[in-house]
């Protein structure tokens, strides 16, 4: 009998504690989700075989794209302004930095531009 009364008393406090915990957990999950959204795109689950291959390819294409754009800009500046080879030298380096930035964004270790104010 005493046991029974104790049981009836318990749930009220238990439930309050539980709902508080649930809320806290929900908030944490929301934070996690925001982070996830800020992180890029694809980010396929790290794993074996082909998805790893696809990810590697994706990251390398990001790097190469940056260097390529830098090289094209540098070459064009050289061509138009006749400052060869300085445009090429400067812009290939800038392109390389941009490529590294692309890779970091693609891998999700650096926020994308505009990531902060996505949910206005």
């Amino acid at each position: 009998m005493a046991q029974n009364a104790h049981d009836q008393d318990e749930p009220a406090t238990d439930e309050a504690a539980l709902s508080a915990r649930l809320r806290r957990l929900g908030d944490q999950l929301d934070n996690k989700r925001v982070d996830k959204r800020a992180d890029p795109a694809s980010a396929p689950q790290s794993g074996s075989g082909p998805s790893g291959f696809a990810r590697g390819f994706q990251l390398s294409s990001e790097l190469v794209a940056g260097v390529l754009v830098g090289a094209v800009i540098g070459w064009s500046l050289d061509y138009w302004l006749g400052i060869s080879p300085w445009g090429m030298i400067v812009f290939v380096l800038v392109g390389f930095v941009a490529g590294v930035l692309n890779v970091m964004r693609s891998a999700g270790v650096w926020p994308r531009p505009g990531a902060g104010n996505r949910r206005d």
């Binding site: 294409s61 390529l68 754009v69 902060g116």
Partner: protein, 249 residues
Amino acid sequence: MADPIHQFEIVNLVPLAKIGGTEFHFTNSALFMVVAVAITALLTVGATAGRQLVPGRMQAASEIVYDFVGNMIRSSAGEEGMRFFPLVFSLFCFVLIANVVGLVPFTFTVTSHIIVTASLALIVFFTVLIYGFYRHGFGFLRLFVPHGIPIYILPFVALIEVVSFLSRPISHSVRLFANMLAGHITLKVFAGFVAGLGSLGIVGWLGGALPLVMVIMLTALELLVAFLQAYVFTLLTCIYLNDALHPGH
């Protein structure tokens, strides 16, 4: 052994016009683009023609695709991004159907040509650029100016951001193109092993069974890649469109 690159050859089917010195043909690539559009139209317009409250199979499928794309836009570009829904939905359906149609034997994979994926990526790129400037004016340039950067390295950082922005269509298009190209070549090479070993008699048949199993597994994998790459292409589109909507850092 069959040439694994042969499947990507462009064949002129019907001569259309001759402008200047350039001849325009209706090619097999164009044919399969038309096929992809026709299938998409059939699946969306045709399946929802009945507009039943309780959807049939086809209607449910097209509703799922609609919801899928809609949720993708909302989660990455916000509710405002829904104004780009027609563009994003068309891109997703075109890429997805083109990828999947390309898996059928004797068809042509439109998305395995970089000119096609680059055109799609450039459409997105210029949409972002034009809409960004139209909507925010020169405020769109805030995209290239991160918060909290000391003023003395700001020009350098902005330059890097600009180059990074310009490199987007390259990685955007190369990703889809390379995945489709590599997948189809791999499939063809392994299929070539089956035929090559099969001609060696009974021992060859036993040996040929191994690449045959491999080809079956690769086909399933390619189906996954076809969906995944369409998804990734669309998701990147959404992320880039988000920059046009909210350029600030």
